[in-house]
């Protein structure tokens, strides 16, 4: 194959890869603005959460079938994942969440923290990253588990308070 033809094929292939790896994600960010979901209720595998005021979300980040939702509270991303059945307690779940966090590059687990959903006490850990901070909360109720991971460039007390308000809205039904 001539060099010119090789260059044409290489350019076409690289264009296809860049289209899907960069182009479509950028388009998605451009046309899928965050929307205010304050007051809206989300159902995640039987657990409901009503977003407090000024909580934002991107449309593709609510996946009811997978029991997942990601909210934006200030500059922080708050990921909630619900699944079941689960046979362990919240402390064990928090340790499992920490197991994955501590092997992430640049992540360091710090002190335990208290977490409270609607009528259910949980277990949590704080962590710092190279670019910010975050914390996790784990809840188990009636064999249903809910995991919350919050992280951001700077988690000031105001933002942490608003995230705790969101977590407090997690309702396990009969709890």
């Amino acid at each position: 194959m001539s060099r010119r033809r090789s260059l044409a094929v290489a350019t076409a292939v690289a264009a296809v890869v860049l289209l899907f790896a960069l182009g479509v994600p950028l388009l998605n960010k451009a046309v899928s603005p965050t929307v205010d979901v304050g007051g809206e209720t989300f159902v995640l595998a039987g657990v409901t959460v009503t977003a407090p005021d000024d909580v934002l979300m991107r449309p593709g980040y609510y996946q009811p079938g997978s029991g997942r939702a990601e909210f934006l509270v200030g500059d922080a991303e708050v990921d909630i994942a619900v699944a079941g059945p689960y046979d362990f307690d919240a402390e064990y779940l928090a340790a499992e969440m920490g197991r994955l966090l501590e092997v992430q590059p640049g992540v360091q687990l710090t002190e335990p923290r208290e977490c409270a959903a609607d009528g259910v006490e949980g277990a949590g850990r704080s962590f710092v990253t190279e670019t910010g901070a975050g914390f996790t909360c784990a809840f188990v109720h009636d064999e249903i588990r809910a995991e919350v991971t919050a992280k951001g460039a700077s988690l000031d007390p105001g933002t942490v308070g608003r995230i705790d308000s969101l977590i407090a809205q997690l309702s396990f039904g009969a709890a």
């Binding site: 194959m1 060099r3 033809r5 090789s6 260059l7 094929v9 290489a10 350019t11 076409a12 292939v13 690289a14 296809v16 890869v17 289209l19 899907f20 790896a21 960069l22 479509v24 994600p25 388009l27 998605n28 046309v31 899928s32 991107r58 449309p59 593709g60 980040y61 609510y62 996946q63 009811p64 079938g65 997978s66 994942a81 699944a83 689960y86 046979d87 362990f88 779940l93 499992e96 969440m97 197991r99 994955l100 501590e102 092997v103 992430q104 590059p105 588990r145 995991e147």
Partner: protein, 308 residues
């Protein structure tokens, strides 16, 4: 197929595979370190996918002109560039669909409408790139089938590994192998035969057909093969027959076979057609007997004029 510093196609393959491999390691290594026993089990089990395809390559060795490095390059492309590009592209298309039609609709239909397009197009792009690198060493459709299958199996190994590790993490029950084995039975044994390797084999057949015939019609055939593969992949991902029509496990199994068999039958027919129409690589059988590993370039078929 030797390294050529002046080949744009080789540079593109090296740079994209290198960049994607770094991203892949960045995404998978922490989980593998957190769950070493599950990670090792998943890697060993899903790597077994490559064994039957390597055996298949040896089985058809006298009909293949592509050097051994070509399927290896295809496998690397499938395992790195195709996987990472599909991860970003499919997720973004899911977001666009959620914006347009709502999150519930997007969650149900993006595996049908988004993932097959991104995954099949990127895997086929890899096949095209490898064919460009090994230009002149493609004897016929069988070369494309084997190359495509290897590209698909690379994708399948990493995707299967990722699903198994994701299941282990979501299980939140420690470093145990049960979720890995469960995923291997479902994705490897029940769904393994008619997955990415078979889809990309069909697309690869189209690419090789266009590369060896070099007619406008053959390019359309190649595009048709890609479109057909996207449709077969969409059918495979669709919720159709997923509940087994309420007939329990046997119904689910029948549904899996009904959705997967068409692709397998197409590959089977393509292999038979290629064996009948294209024959052996000239001089390859003799070369193999005398111990030479790689065959010569394709000798043009008199019935199909080169460069037409």
């Amino acid at each position: 197929m030797r390294p050529d510093p002046t080949s744009p196609a080789q540079w593109t393959a090296a740079l994209l595979i290198g960049a994607a491999a770094i991203l892949l390691l960045y995404n998978t290594l922490p989980v593998a370190l957190a769950y070493p026993r599950a990670g090792t089990t998943a890697l060993v089990l899903f790597s077994l996918f490559a064994v039957p395809f390597w055996w298949l390559r040896r089985r058809f060795a006298d009909r293949l002109a592509l050097p051994a490095a070509a399927p290896v390059l295809g496998l690397l492309w499938g395992a790195t560039v195709a996987v990472m590009t599909s991860l970003f592209g499919s997720r973004a298309l899911h977001g666009l669909m959620a914006t347009a039609w709502g999150p519930t609709w997007a969650e149900r239909w993006s595996p049908v409408l988004a993932a097959p397009v991104v995954e099949e197009v990127v895997k086929t792009a890899g096949v095209v790139l490898v064919v460009a690198i090994a230009w002149g060493r493609v004897h016929g459709v069988l070369d494309g089938i084997v190359l495509g299958a290897f590209c698909g199996v690379g994708f399948q190994i990493v995707e299967g590994y990722a699903f198994a590790m994701s299941s282990t993490v979501l299980n939140r029950a420690g470093d145990v192998v049960e979720p890995v084995i469960a995923v291997f039975i479902v994705r490897g044994v029940l769904a393994g035969l008619w997955s990415h390797a078979v889809f990309t084999a069909i697309a690869g057949a189209g690419v090789a057909y266009a590369a060896t015939r070099r007619t406008a019609r053959s390019v359309w055939v190649s595009a048709g093969a890609l479109a057909a593969v996207i449709a077969l992949h969409a059918l495979w991902n669709s919720p159709l027959l997923r509940d087994g029509l309420g007939l329990g496990a046997l119904g689910v199994l029948a549904g899996v076979m009904l959705k997967g068999l068409p692709a397998v039958l197409i590959v089977w027919w393509l292999v038979r057609w290629a064996q009948r129409e294209e024959g052996y690589v000239p001089g390859k059988t003799l070369a193999m007997v005398s111990g030479e590993a790689e065959g010569p370039a394709r000798t043009p078929n008199p019935a199909e004029p080169e460069g037409a």
